[in-house]
Symmetry: C2
């Protein structure tokens, strides 16, 4: 038997802790895994051991056993400092990955801190989340039937890409590859812009309404539409600053399209409204069907 | 014992049929009810009897037994023609109400068709719905713990207002009164604008993406945000044409606020983004708490 694959997770929030729990639960087909974890908040790593997220808590990044894989699960803005800490380890790693929502920013940070992209580095982003956050919200099945996007770089070692792919596939994720630029455009459109619209609308209504009285009259449609406005303000402020260009591009397309609907309402152009709503309903119905099929697999 | 209260529901879609099912299920505290129903689609009223929605199907609005209350549950744009049909009955009714999403348009239509607002008329709007539609989707508990907004007019007979209030309270709704203008503003903000944004965003993304491939990468946040884009295009095109002024007013406030966020992203103004997101999260968290408390009562 080969030695176990030693995986170090840095950052034990919902995503990092769920990855640990899942990989300990599922293992790898041909090799045992040993999951270590570090979090800058004191006691979180010990709590993670108690919760079954980790095999071992790490209290000092300067004193580590042999590590094969590092998963960076800290906020995008915190990656730079962690890279400095783990720099000395990079030469002996089989693979380094991350889970950040904006890939361009992560790649820029790594390049700035190290001067080069190390061959072990394979940036990634799981398209999964939950309303709760933190280590106590960790779920072993969080990534099952969810996309995991890898954005390998020209410098990435194919063996590292293969290993990271295997790890995410082992815990049920559907792994796809695309370029860093495409990832950031896709996420700007499907995640970042919807969050901006939800935050913006909830704030517009809250400010216009005395004691937020208007929300008393909101129904299920508004409840679902505005759920993402309860997301973490700090994390989302990071995301918009990190993915500025792609977000602005799709935001401006949206603003232009919304202005066309505004004009249609003003000029009683029912045909245009009906055409757009029908096209949107068709796309949304197709999306519903796709989600249902993915759950069946 | 007094005679039963004869209630005629015109239009047996989700809302009309659920009202019938609920009122037959709950009854009134001191008086028995007898529920009649009419739908212009052939066979729907008979189907409604079979489904427990009605006591009796009505096949011809020109040949009716004694009716005490009429509930108009047809689309807003269809109310005019129905008013012509039931005109001869209005003098002997105790109350006439409707369930339209836009109250100004309904009131204008009634006034245009009849020359006056009859004293029995009490406009109303239940803040409830479901993803399914039609008579087969009828649910006896659809209105439980939901707001029902009445917009009584200066001409409305207080006894009619009281009777309509009792009927909706009997089936679990939380009845509130406001002016027609306020209703249309509140709904423009909490329902009509969110629907416009969801339709618009889904259409923007669908048109920009070859084979709608981009939706493959959408997660739970987008799923919830865009659910209302699957709503009926015809009904919603009616709503925007009917509630033009209030919708344009709140849409333009939203566009101005969104432009401020756009500028903040462009100029890396993280403080402004953080402030707006924090305010929005606070309002959304309060809304979540309000919904939870309403369900407990």
């Amino acid at each position: 038997m080969t030695e176990p694959l030693n995986i170090l997770i840095i950052g034990l929030g919902l995503i990092g802790a769920s990855f640990g729990k899942a990989i300990r639960h599922q293992g790898l087909a041909e090799r045992s895994v040993f999951v270590l974890g570090y979090d800058r908040s004191q006691g979180v790593a010990e709590q993670a051991v108690a919760l079954g997220v980790l095999d071992q808590a790490v209290t000092d990044l300067a004193q580590l056993p042999r590590i094969d894989v590092i998963v960076l699960a800290v906020p995008v803005m915190a990656i730079g400092a962690v890279i400095d800490d783990i720099g000395p380890l990079l030469g002996s790693l089989q693979a380094l990955t991350d889970v950040g929502s904006v890939k361009g920013q992560v790649v820029r940070t790594v390049r700035e801190r190290l001067g080069v992209i190390p061959a072990c580095f394979v940036p990634g982003h799981p398209i999964a989340g939950a309303e709760q956050s933190g280590v106590t919200a960790a779920k072993a099945d969080l990534f099952e039937h969810h996309m995991h996007i890898l954005t390998p770089l020209p410098e990435s070692d194919p063996a590292a890409v293969q290993l990271i792919t295997q790890l995410w596939q082992a815990i049920g994720a559907d792994v796809v590859e695309m370029s860093v630029e495409r990832h950031d455009e896709v996420l700007a459109a499907t995640s970042h812009l919807p969050h901006l619209l939800a935050f913006s609308l909830v704030d517009t209504l809250a400010r216009e309404s005395e004691n937020r009285e208007i929300f008393k009259y909101a129904a299920g449609g508004f409840r679902d539409f505005s759920r993402i406005a309860a997301s973490d303000p700090t994390m989302w402020h990071d995301i918009f600053l990190s993915n500025k260009d792609a977000t602005l591009k799709v935001l401006r397309r949206f603003q232009a399209d919304l202005a066309i609907l505004e004009q249609a309402i003003e000029h009683d152009d029912g045909d245009l409204l009906h055409t757009v709503f029908t096209r949107a309903k068709s796309a949304r119905d197709q999306f519903t069907q796709m989600l249902a099929e993915r759950q069946k697999n």
